[in-house]
């Protein structure tokens, strides 16, 4: 995953979360797609890239949400660093382990985010415990299915190209 791919994924995640999800779903979906990108980067590229990705994603969210700039950047950078540093000790090949890592990352993000607001003692945004747990589970499900799609896409693309190839399905006889 190149840096340009990460930037593209972040931009797409933010646009999809703000502009598309609202139009395609009847009820609001408690998902943080930018965090999904950060955790994916942490697991695939390690802590250093995850720190930069988390910082960029969080600061962008802070700037665009009109509040104090920093809490989301700090929370996502910490999550990226912790998941990235522990990724060398984690085996996340199985679906359930990816799901568990993401749920943990999501809850960790909430703790960091609200922790910062508690420290600075200004009006903290609101979220109930049910919302946070629901968001963690939804994030985990989206992450697992998203990663599944990302991993399955190249093979599917190859099969599609073979299927549509002009020489596909013909019997060739070598003379």
């Amino acid at each position: 995953m190149k840096n340009a791919h990460i930037a593209l994924a972040l931009g797409t995640a933010l646009l999809a979360q703000t502009a598309l999800l609202r139009m395609v779903t009847a009820v609001p979906v408690p998902v943080d797609l930018a965090l999904i990108v950060v955790v994916y980067v942490a697991l695939s590229r390690g802590a250093t890239t995850a720190i930069w990705t988390g910082t960029a994603a969080g600061l962008l969210q802070d700037v665009l949400s009109g509040g104090i700039v920093g809490p989301s950047g700090l929370a996502k950078c910490l999550v990226g660093a912790i998941i990235g540093l522990s990724s060398t000790r984690l085996v996340v090949a199985a679906l359930w382990s990816r799901f568990a890592v993401y749920v943990a990352a999501s809850l960790l993000h909430a703790v960091c985010f609200f922790g910062v607001y508690m420290l600075i003692d200004t009006g903290a945004p609101g979220a109930s415990m049910v919302f946070l747990v629901g968001q963690a589970v939804v994030n985990g499900l989206v992450f697992v299915s998203g990663v599944g799609l990302v991993h399955a896409a190249p093979a599917a693309w190859r099969r599609l190209r073979v299927y549509w190839s002009p020489i596909a399905g013909r019997n060739w006889e070598l003379e």
Binding site: L14, L15, Q17, T18, A19, L20, L21, R22, M23, V27, P28, P30, V31, D32, G46, A47, T48, I51, T55, L60, Q61, D62, V63, L64, S65, G66, G67, I68, V69, G70, P71, S72, G73, L74, C77, L78, A81, G84, L85, T88, A110, F113, F114, V116, I120, T122, G123, A124, P125, G126, A127, S128, F131, Q135
Partner: protein, 283 residues
């Protein structure tokens, strides 16, 4: 292996530097108060343009589908809409009669006539980018006369206020159910005043600072009082869903918001015209 050993301290230093940088950034804003910097305005404006383009494109695709492909139950919908229009026309006539009566009463009491609110209609183009902060982005901005703190209302009731300086063609609105949002409010029946705020639960508002001596019942309508200088008085906020005695001398009142914030599409943004009376003037 050697590379890993070399990289770990570098990552730690980077993490430390980034965390310290964030803390300095946050503490600077806490001391000086959050500002709507040029960078934020430019970033928001640029992002809103992309969101707007995406929304228009999506609605174009979806509109093509609904207009040309999914026409199966159009006739039934047409009949239903015709019936609804007839019903609304009746209601409109009734409202006009009421308005005429109200105007004549107002003239009798020698009160000044209500100048009416100058508004622009706006459409939702995106939801909030941070999951814990309840905001929406609308397709009207500075170019349409929208200013910071402008009230946003929908046919059902009060939506929220414009957050910070808007971009040229877009503005961000803090919804009334956001944890940090508040509005001056009154119980319509008894005129008891208080402040309505957002809660952790996005489907419930709370009304604070209403004395325990006041008569507030479940089902009472809560309207804006205009005391905050943002929301015009008399607009519906919601209905009381629960009342109990609070821990101090105030009632604990839960309010069911009149607006379904998740399904908002079109709203009106109040534009203060030059020379117009202040929004919080009593009437």
């Amino acid at each position: 292996m050697v590379a890993n050993v070399d990289r770990r301290p570098r990552t730690s230093y980077l993490l430390l530097a980034v965390v310290v940088g964030h803390l300095i950034l946050i503490s600077a804003q806490v001391q000086a108060g959050p500002r709507n910097s040029v960078l934020e305005q430019v970033a928001f404006g640029a992002f809103a343009e992309v969101q707007h383009a995406l929304t228009v494109a999506w609605q174009g695709v979806f509109g093509t589908w609904s207009e040309y492909v999914a026409l199966r139950d159009l006739h039934a919908r047409n009949d239903a809409l015709a019936a609804e229009v007839a019903d609304l026309k009746l209601q409109l006539q009734s409202q006009r009669a009421l308005a005429r009566r109200a105007r004549s009463l107002q003239a009798l009491l020698d009160m000044r006539s209500d100048a009416g609110l100058a508004t622009v209609s706006a459409r939702v183009i995106a939801s909030g980018v941070a999951p814990y902060i309840r905001t929406l982005t609308f397709d009207r901005g500075r170019a349409d006369g929208v200013a910071a703190d402008a009230a946003v209302i929908a046919p059902d009731g009060v939506v929220g206020r414009v957050l910070g300086d808007p971009a040229r063609a877009a503005s961000q609105v803090q919804l009334l159910n956001d944890r940090n949002a508040a509005a001056g409010a009154r119980v319509e029946r008894t005129r008891a005043a208080g402040i309505v705020r957002g809660t952790d639960d996005e489907s419930v508002l709370t009304m604070e600072y209403v004395s325990t001596t006041e008569d507030v019942r479940v089902g009472d309508r809560i309207v804006t009082s205009g005391i905050d200088g943002i929301y015009p008085p008399g607009y519906v906020i919601g209905d009381v869903s629960a009342v109990s005695l609070g821990s101090d001398l105030h009632l604990q009142i839960s309010v069911d918001p009149a607006v379904d914030f998740a399904r908002l599409e079109e709203v009106l943004v109040v534009v203060q015209e030059r020379g117009a009376p202040a929004l919080n003037s009593p009437w």
